[in-house]
Every structure is written in C-alpha cells, then in structure tokens.
C-alpha cells in the first residue's frame, strides 16, 4: 500500500483523473481508485470527502444528488475548469516523474 502522506500529495490529480471519464459517487470513486491501482491506493476512505468538497469549492468538480441503483447518492463530475486543472497537473506530474526516473535509474 502506498504511504498515505505520499498519496496525499497527488490526491487531487488522482481524484480528477478518476472522474475524467464519467461521474461517480464517493464509494464508487474509492473503488475505482483501489481497483485501477491494483489495491495500491487503498487510502482511508473518509479522507475522500474533505478532498472532494474542496475540489468542488474550487470549481473543479460539480455535484448533485442522483438516484443510483435505486438509492439517492451524491454524484461528482468533472467541470470544464476541472478538466483544464487535471491536464495541467498531469503535465506537471509527468515532467516530475520523468526527471525522478532519469536520476534514480541512471546507469551506475
């Protein structure tokens, strides 16, 4: 399992990316994160909600109550502003990851 503090630094990008293809409610977001990362991102699920609400206040996510499988759920979706933010954060993370790889994997 990834260290929680390491994960926290990338939580915004992970949440925005998880919602990039379709809207989802909190439990489904946690499931997608866990499944897509093969169990690596198994963070305390309660930490999702403060992050989701913060992203919503930033205008990167929008939410509404909706009927899901016969139950009323708060569903989150990426906004146009959120898509731009995700693209920017993705590019920054890619540059950073490339630079780290170049250093740690350089031939001895």
């Amino acid at each position: 399992m990834a260290r929680a503090d390491t994960l926290k630094g990338h939580l915004d990008l992970l949440l925005l990316s998880t919602l990039s293809d379709r809207p989802a409610h909190g439990y489904a977001i946690a499931e997608r994160l866990r499944d897509t990362s093969a169990g690596e991102f198994d963070l305390p699920e309660g930490t999702l909600y403060p992050a989701l609400h913060r992203l919503e206040r930033s205008g990167w996510l929008a939410s509404r109550w909706a009927e899901v499988n016969g139950r009323r759920r708060r569903v989150y979706q990426l906004t146009a502003k959120g898509q731009k933010a995700r693209a920017k954060q993705h590019a920054e993370w890619s540059d950073f990851a490339r630079a780290v790889r170049a250093v740690v994997e350089r031939p001895a």
């Binding site: 409610h25 909190g26 439990y27 946690a30 198994d42 305390p44 699920e45 309660g46 930490t47 909600y49 403060p50 992050a51 609400h53 913060r54 206040r57 139950r71 009323r72 759920r73 708060r74």
Partner: protein, 181 residues
C-alpha cells in the same frame, strides 16, 4: 455499528462548530454501500460493517480534515469582516467632531467579540484586523513614533475576541484547549 460511528463523527464535527449534514449523509451512504458489497461476497453483516468502518478511517481525523477544509473559507470571511469593521470604526473615530473614546473602545471590543463568536479560530488575528487601524492612522497623521502608545487600544479587541472565542467554546461544549494560533 454504522450508526454509532456516524454519531461519533457527528459529535466530532459539532465540537468543531460544523453541522456536517451533507458529510454525514454521504459517509452513511458510503458505509452502507461498502458493507453491502462485502455481505454480497459472503461476509457476515457485523464483520462487513466493522471492515467498512475501518476502511473509512478514524472519525476524529475525518472531522479534523473536514474542519480544516471548511475553515479556510471561514477564516478569509472573518478576516475580511474584521478589516472592514475596523476601518469603519477608525473612519468614524478620525472625524473631527468625534470625541467619544468610550464608544470607540466598546465598538472595537464588540466587533472582535462577534467575529470570534462566529469563527473562534485565531482570535488574535480578528483583534488585529479590527484594532490596528486607529493606532496606524494616528502614527501616520502625527508623524510621531510616540503615538505608538495608541497600540494599547488593541487590548479592547483582544479582550473581545478571546471572550467571544471562549463563549463559543462554552456554547459548543468544547473541552480541549482553544485554538489560539
């Protein structure tokens, strides 16, 4: 088991001055979904609820994170209100016909008290926001460093802000040390 967890989370949020109805409702849905999924895989209901709660994490920590994310906006509004009220009081106090230091002091105390009652974090900051303008104006107007003695006026908003924060703590039943910084 889920209800007990939610009651604890609700109590932790109330202690921090947050109703948290939406958070509680979303987390209840989440725990129910999580437990139902495990029951469908053959886990007993009590074990499923216990595991769902474990995955959710410590209620006090979740409440702390929710409070931290919400108070950023609250802090900004409180500081803006403090500055606006402080400037208004300083403007009235600077009028040539105004000669009632008692009312000015009471206004400084009252403004800081009301703001700290609404947002009890960092009462010293609300006191500064309210009270710093009259001393600054006096120093600028007279050009004398000795006018800095006017900063003694800060005692009034400081007293008001800390009294307001303690009142809020008493009202909401907080027991831990108040958040001064």
């Amino acid at each position: 088991m889920i209800d007990a967890y939610l009651e604890k989370l609700s109590a932790e949020l109330r202690r921090r001055g947050i109703a948290g109805n939406r958070e509680i409702e979303e987390i209840r849905d989440h725990l129910t979904d999580s437990a139902d999924a495990m029951v469908a895989q053959g886990v007993t209901r009590p074990d499923a609820e216990r595991q769902a709660i474990e995955r959710m994490g410590d209620a006090a920590e979740i409440a702390r994170q929710i409070a931290a994310s919400q108070f950023r906006l609250g802090n900004a509004l409180a500081l803006a209100s403090a500055v606006a009220l402080g400037l208004a009081i300083a403007y009235v106090d600077s009028r040539p016909h105004w000669d009632d230091a008692g009312i000015t002091a009471f206004a400084l105390l009252g403004a800081a008290l009301v703001i700290a009652l609404c947002v009890p974090r960092r009462p010293w900051l609300w006191a500064l926001g309210v009270g710093v303008w009259i001393p600054l104006h006096t120093i600028v107007r007279t050009g004398r460093p000795g006018a800095a003695i006017m900063f003694v006026l800060l005692l009034f908003p400081l007293a008001g802000a800390y009294f307001g924060a303690y009142m809020r703590r008493a009202i909401s039943g907080r027991t831990e040390t108040i958040f001064f910084f």
